[in-house]
Point group: C2
């Protein structure tokens, strides 16, 4: 949370889709730009699994946001034209209520007593922010990665809520390879004795499990091709090695260690488990019996679906499936298959390609 | 080890390439078929990381071997014609000397005092078997996966040792994606408190680390496409779930658990670490400064290089690189890119395609 973070109380109780409810829950959000008097220029951005609501630099918090290359004045999502809202997911730990929050009924952190979380809950909680801002209809609903799944949940549950959809490197549901990776990440956290059934604290924190889960994540967020160009078989200098038996020798190992260290203290392990499982559970086919029938229920004036050829975790065929399904349901849909080499994370780093593709779409709607 | 296993003593001391030496070491092997009086029909098979020397059913051990679909009477590697030898890698735990063996100098298991292992050591130890059988020149040297890297090490160190090469789903060196996966597998084992710096026993065995490492392996041995067809989003029946928080729900999770359980007690964790690192270390570029120059040193009458489009761990471009390098060095080389959907493991399971491709090559040499 930053000085730019605002909080939106959810209706209390807030009923969760898979049972249980939350009392006094809130979600954190940030906004950029100004809402037009007609309230018709709102863009809602739903996030991937781990980011906060700080998607871009803000007058009250000038540090770069996670999508700083895309959102801002004169950028692809131009905050001089759009009133942009980004919501930290319900169940996360960046200001929104989640398993790391205090359960008001007990005065203790929820931990694993937090009710089962679905991306429908994430979507409907984000919608409360939209409603609280007096926005009746979004001009565009945007979601990369998990955020795209949450955006689909949003559009399926609130059919008239958005005029346009921008779905980036996402999927109508998780396929077994991605489920396997996420299941293993969850198991890495659960297998750390310090996780202790969810009862850890800052002194006894499942550091190892989180480091390992993040390293595994990194192997699927980028691409083999990018790493080949970037690291090849470069080695860590002998004098910079930690000396542990079988410790890192190759540059790619040290890169993974660095990325994991950066992440581990920033994210709550129980929140990670809840959000990760929500991604595996989400299924457009829950709406009508098949992905095609689910997508055909979505109404919008237009959509852009973007995917990347090297994405292992959300493979390109899944974005194609979304685009075809929206089209078959009558939504005029553009499909952009980008040749980025950065894999799933390309939307965060391949600014030339994503900026152009998103900017052209946003300029035309 | 089985009744069909034989043992070949290595010269003592056996000097290891990266330093250190072994006293009284042996490697385990099996043979099928009969060596021709001219001793010119020998085929040596080097194995992937975890298999034993039991590549095929044997009169003394009729249980199926790990390459039973390919090796046998009338099969692609026809044991009525060829005298087939398969060697358990030095450093492994299936009868050959390795970190789990007793160090004769101390009477205790070697554990991490075992000298650093390279695939050159694996290759030169296998060559001692060939020599002991009175074979001056192999008719064909065969290696799938790590076995292909060991075969390259063999051919580079013993240039006249084989008339033909058959390299399957292998690489001239490991690229950073594969290094990252293996490094993480090793870290999963090392992070298990029961690993205890290599000092575990049957009562305190790093079961969790081995299970996790195998599960991670499985995500890279198969392909997303195969799993999509095979499991889709099928669920484990509610009453068959273990009830642990965040425990398996999807069929793919239960498949991974089953595969890992089968493996965990069959393989020694320290041996796993040594062999895994040997794969990351091996580099054809060590011979002449580049992969191309290394491959150009290899002499043979002919070669077949096989790869699979869906292989994540040993991607097709690496088999293509081997084929081109051998050709540029003057070895007539066929390159077969197979459309199998089973990923790296296809050589073990896609018998129709591999049987035909290997059989045609073996029939013509």
């Amino acid at each position: 949370m930053t000085p730019a973070t605002r909080h939106c109380p959810l209706p209390s109780p807030f009923a969760m889709r898979r049972g249980g409810h939350l009392e006094g829950a809130t979600v954190a959000y940030e906004t950029w730009g100004a809402l037009a008097p007609a309230r018709d220029n709102a863009v809602l951005v739903l996030t991937g699994m781990s980011p906060s609501a700080h998607a871009a630099a803000h007058p009250d918090d000038p540090t770069p946001g996670w999508w700083d290359d895309i959102i801002g004045p004169g950028k692809a999502i131009d905050t001089r034209r759009w009133f942009v809202v980004c919501v930290n997911s319900l169940g996360s730990c960046m200001g929104s209520t989640g398993p790391a929050s205090v359960n008001p009924a007990t005065g203790q952190p929820w931990r694993l007593d937090f009710p089962a979380l679905s991306l429908e809950d994430v979507a409907l909680a984000a919608h409360e922010v939209v409603r609280s801002l007096g926005i009746e209809r979004l001009h565009c609903l945007v979601g990369p990665s998990m955020g795209g799944m949450s955006a689909l949940a949003y559009a399926l549950n609130l059919p008239a809520a958005a005029r346009h959809l921008l779905l980036v490197s996402t999927a109508p549901h998780s396929l077994p390879f991605s489920i396997a990776i996420r299941s293993l990440q969850r198991e890495l956290i659960r297998s750390d004795p310090a996780w202790n059934g969810g009862h850890y604290d800052a002194e006894a924190f499942p550091v190892t499990g989180m480091l390992l889960a993040r390293k595994l994540g990194m192997t699927t967020y980028r691409s083999a091709r990018e790493w080949r160009q970037r690291f090849g078989r470069s080695k860590v200098p002998e004098d910079a090695r930690d000396g542990a038996p079988f410790g890192p020798e190759f540059a790619v190992e040290s890169y993974l260690a660095y990325q994991a260290e950066r992440f581990v203290t920033r994210f709550d392990p129980n929140c990670y488990l809840y959000l990760s499982r929500a991604m595996d559970w989400f299924d457009v086919a829950d709406y009508g019996g098949s992905v095609a029938r689910g997508l055909a229920r979505i109404r919008a004036r237009g959509a852009l679906v973007i995917g990347v050829e090297t994405d292992l975790l959300f493979p390109l065929e899944q974005q194609e499936e979304i685009a075809e399904g929206l089209r078959d349901g009558g939504v005029p849909t553009q499909f952009a298959a980008l040749p980025s080499i950065q894999g799933h994370d390309a939307f965060l780093v391949d600014t030339p390609r994503f900026g152009k593709t998103i900017g052209d779409f946003m300029a035309a709607i």
